[in-house]
């Protein structure tokens, strides 16, 4: 895991304390117990705060898995650089 993945994993661990660390990279809303709408809002707020990004409403569909959020963060970083 690179630094961004590690930071995102910390966010997942904070919101889903029971999650197995080995499974974070594959985590999605259907596989993680307790990933309901409230947990989703909390997760997105934690990610926004940690990464200083604003997760836009129209992209919400992407934010139902670790990989989806990670790819959004990587895309956002590219946009910042270009």
């Amino acid at each position: 895991m690179d630094e961004k993945e590690l930071r995102l994993a910390e966010c997942f661990l904070a919101v889903f304390p029971g999650i197995n660390t080995d499974e974070i990279a594959k985590a999605c809303s259907t596989s993680v117990q307790g990933w309901d709408s409230v947990a989703n809002v909390t997760l997105l707020a934690v990610v926004e705060e940690e990464f200083g990004v604003n997760l836009e409403g129209e992209d919400l569909a992407r934010f139902d898995s670790f990989s989806g959020i990670l790819s959004y963060l990587r895309d956002a970083e590219k946009c910042t650089w270009t």
Binding site: E10, A14, P17, A45, V46, E50
Partner: protein, 578 residues
């Protein structure tokens, strides 16, 4: 506090072994992250407890107030936003904003405000309530431009003001300071429109965090420091007394030293609220005495006691002051302009809060007073607060008079015309009782602390009793200085709480308390819910003498044995006192 930090705190809280601190958050908004942040802030303040924040239904403010009225919790937190006064004031409402609607909005808001006032009055009879009035900006309903205040907004704010004015008269309602939230959370950085639309949670995270911290502090209530020790030169006044003389020191506009007068006025205010003010100064004592008699001093020199002036170390002076006040170093703040002196005191007393006086920096002096206000702030002032310094001064005289090395005999107490008053009144509960229980460490049966709610619930038991003890002698009153709480069970009495102010030591008041209980309840035995704490050695020593052995949890004092041992101890003291 960041949300991820709050979640980590809540995760670690789950392993706690203490009791549960339950409170109810009554709001019309979706509490979402505010609830998480508030739980974390409360868990930092109630370090042994598991925090349980209950809430009601979204968009049902008055229903949630009803739920709070029925809830089995320690405290209530009532959070009002504009849309709770009229839904048209919220973003999510589809209603029209036309000038002709404004009067109707005000009328609805006024009616709801009245209902809120009544409900707060009712709920606060049973529970302490923390009240937070709208913190979000008023939406742009009125037709005037944003830089002009509309009569609509003024009337709306007057309605909110009426809620707080009425609520502030309820003893158990604490209102969040609008000035403080304005200081820590800029108005334009509070509203999160997107979140409000999507989830019904209208706050940006930094604002929710600021609110949570303040609401948690209000919920716990202030734990005020007891005493302030101040330096003199370049602190209480500008100038070095030994160099410029009594007339050379200053605290006025002409000498650009007005902020020292401001500091003096602030100390005078603290003293009048019951805070102990002492002086630790490296100076000639006679010069200091002369300087403190200057008529233009902005605080009365009689409110300062003791004055430790000399050439020894500041930590030695602090030690003597702590002994005179008989308070622990963790209850004291030391203010000095010299970082070296602060470090020297801190090295000897790490628990003393040491603060540098920012000489020649007016803005920082002002900020210092804000900080001191937080450290010494309390929710109410009692009669005992107003007589504290005088009673310590008199105790000091009385101690010299009686010889500090030996316990006080009955003859001595008769000589000083000691009067002890016992008051068993339980309704209404005197708030001074809980204050004493929660701040007394040395003569404390078990160190147990109570919330306002748990204290009140304890005395709902018809078997319970409360004894408040007051003392005065020819040197003056000490006020209410001891509290005993317990239960009667047939021929046995159990004491669950027993504290006595350190100012009342060496007067045999503790013996008189037990005598009074045996007499009043006509019981043969008194059981004590005793626990050893780090600081309750004075109580342990008393129980050891009374029991003839080291006390243990649940120890029992029989009336017969108490009378015999009390008499022996009395005679022993008379012999020691000659």
């Amino acid at each position: 506090m960041k949300l991820i930090e709050a979640l980590a705190i809540l995760k670690s809280m789950r392993t706690r072994k203490g009791g549960t601190f339950a409170c109810f958050l009554a709001a019309g908004l979706n509490p979402l992250h505010l609830k998480t942040l508030l739980s974390a802030e409360l868990s930092q303040l109630f370090r042994d407890h598991i925090i349980d924040i209950q809430d009601g239904l979204y968009d049902d403010f008055f229903g949630n107030l009803d739920r709070l009225a029925e809830a089995d919790v320690e405290a209530g937190i009532v959070l009002i936003e504009w849309s709770d006064l009229d839904p048209r004031l919220g973003i999510r409402s589809p209603a029209r904003w036309i000038p002709s609607e404004c009067a109707d909005i005000l009328s609805t808001a006024a009616g709801r405000a009245l209902r809120i006032q009544c409900m707060l009055e009712e709920i606060s009879q049973r529970l302490p309530v923390v009240l937070c009035l709208p913190t979000l900006p008023v939406p742009p309903i009125s037709f005037v431009p944003g830089w002009q205040t509309s009569s609509f907004e003024l009337d709306l704010r007057a309605i909110v003001q009426s809620i707080s004015s009425k609520a502030s008269q309820c003893a158990q309602v604490r209102i969040l300071s609008a000035q403080r939230i304005d200081l820590v959370s800029p108005l334009r950085e509070r509203l999160e429109v997107e979140s409000e639309v999507l989830t019904g949670f209208p706050y940006r995270l930094p604002h929710a965090s600021a609110l949570a911290a303040l609401l948690a502090s209000l919920t716990r209530g202030p734990i005020a420091k007891k005493g302030l020790i101040t330096d003199l030169d370049d602190t209480l006044w500008r100038g070095i007394l030994g160099e410029v003389g009594v007339e050379g020191i200053s605290w006025d506009l002409d000498h650009h030293s007005q902020m020292h007068a401001f500091y003096q006025r602030f100390l005078g205010a603290l003293a009048s609220e019951g805070v102990l003010i002492g002086v630790a100064s490296k100076n000639e004592r006679s010069l200091v005495e002369e300087a403190l008699q200057r008529e233009d001093l902005a605080l009365s020199s009689t409110t300062i006691f003791p004055v430790e002036a000399g050439w020894g170390s500041k930590s030695q002076a602090v030690a003597r002051i702590l002994k005179t006040w008989n308070v622990g170093p963790d209850s004291v703040v030391f203010v000095d302009d010299s970082p070296l002196e602060l470090a020297e005191v801190k090295a000897s007393y790490p628990q003393v809060e040491c603060i540098q006086f920012p000489t020649k920096d007016s803005a920082s002096v002002y900020d210092l007073t804000l900080r001191l206000r937080d450290l010494f702030g309390k929710s109410a002032i009692f009669e005992e607060d107003t007589i504290r310094i005088e009673s310590i001064r008199c105790s000091s005289v009385a101690t010299e008079f009686s010889d500090a090395a030996t316990p006080t005999s009955a003859d001595f107490l008769e000589g000083v015309e000691a009067q002890i008053t016992f008051d068993f009144t339980q309704t209404p509960l005197d708030p001074r009782g809980l204050e004493l229980v929660n701040k007394t460490n040395q003569f404390n049966l078990n160190g147990k602390r109570y919330t306002e709610s748990s204290w009140r619930n304890y005395f709902l038991n018809p078997e319970s009793f409360l004894l408040l003890v007051s003392y005065r002698d020819k040197f003056g009153p000490l006020g209410k200085i001891a509290v005993l709480g317990g239960r009667r069970n047939g021929k046995k009495l159990t004491i669950d709480t027993w504290v006595m102010s350190c100012r009342a030591f060496s007067r045999r008041i503790e013996y008189k308390c037990l005598e009074e209980l045996f007499e009043k309840f006509e019981v043969a035995e008194i059981e004590l819910d005793y626990s050893k704490t780090e600081r309750n050695a004075p109580l342990r020593e008393f129980l050891g003498k009374t029991l003839g052995t080291d006390p243990s949890p649940g120890c029992i004092i029989s009336r017969g044995a108490f009378e015999v041992r009390s008499e022996i101890l009395e005679k022993a003291q008379e012999v020691m006192n000659g």
